[in-house]
Symmetry: C2
Subunit: 183 residues, 2 copies
């Protein structure tokens, strides 16, 4: 009988990814519960979004862990990372655009941690000679988010095949970051 909070969050994420302006009622319907029950579990829309942010953070952290960013070449680590991030791509795309609205407010410290880990990966690639120095880790991090979002949307609209998207993202990002041996 008891509602599965995690399942609610996931269906909310799926819906909001497709339509970021969905109402609480739509979110409730999508989760197969009533609006009242949704409100009992998440005090309000803000709370829901914050819970989704928390979920996104967890999935990101988990993906970073699974990817083993410290092992092997930075390129391969990046490839593994994109692959691991793929299931959360829709949610990340939602959060990435949503976060643009919080301009003033301080950024959630969780994201800072993720950013730092990503930046560290890119810096490692630079120091190992794999990646070029003129594209800053901060930019590459930002670009990773953007490309994941673009990928998620492109798949949603059928412009890119779902099975290809992680390859397309990895290759573009790695190719762009890579030092060129010849001119």
């Amino acid at each position: 009988m008891s509602v599965d909070r995690d399942q609610v969050l996931r269906s909310a994420a799926a819906l909001l990814t497709r339509k970021s302006t969905s109402t609480m009622d739509e979110v409730a319907r999508a989760a197969g519960i009533s609006r009242a029950t949704l409100h009992r579990h998440f005090a309000g829309r803000d709370a829901l979004v914050r819970a989704l942010e928390e979920l996104g953070l967890q999935e990101c952290e988990a993906a970073l862990d699974r990817a083993g960013l410290g092992e092997g070449s930075a390129q391969d680590a990046l490839r593994r990372l994109v692959k691991q991030l793929e299931p959360a791509a829709g949610l990340l795309a939602f959060l990435y655009t949503e976060n643009q609205l919080f301009e003033g407010e301080a950024q959630n410290e969780g994201w800072s941690r993720i950013d730092a880990r990503l930046a560290a990966l890119f810096r490692r690639g630079q120091e190992s000679g794999e990646f070029r120095f003129d594209l800053t880790p901060a930019w590459l991090t930002e670009a990773l988010y953007g490309l994941i979002g673009s990928g998620a949307w492109a798949v949603q609209d059928g412009r890119v095949a779902a099975k290809d998207v992680s390859y397309m993202i990895s290759e573009l990002l790695i190719g762009g970051a890579r030092r060129r041996v010849e001119s």
Copy 2:
């Protein structure tokens, strides 16, 4: 006395780029006019967004024209394009995310034209041997939009210097699209 429609549109674009959920009242204030006057010029929020889309389209077309996509190498053409697109980056970022909400509705044919021109550029690069074939023109087009958006936001939040952003975008995209001569 008469309101400058174009100036209103531009300040609206600037505001909505920063906060895509701004109200009509905020838009009016930002333009230095009253909400009533704003309503006299744009029947409603939808009309305003459509006008912004029109403006974005025009700026895009103009940038594509200025860039001379047919001349020289595809790489250089792409570099010129990104540079020309830069002033419209914020507006494009807004429209790009906004368009995600119109999932069902048919895409504005203007964007299809732009997409086609961009895809043609990438295809030209492939056929000239500059760009790799395994990244589809459709994906590269999508990635261009995504990176422009990411760039605009990164600049807004101070994560990337404004003077560098067009270089960062070009280099990442070109580097990623480029065929590698060696492994």
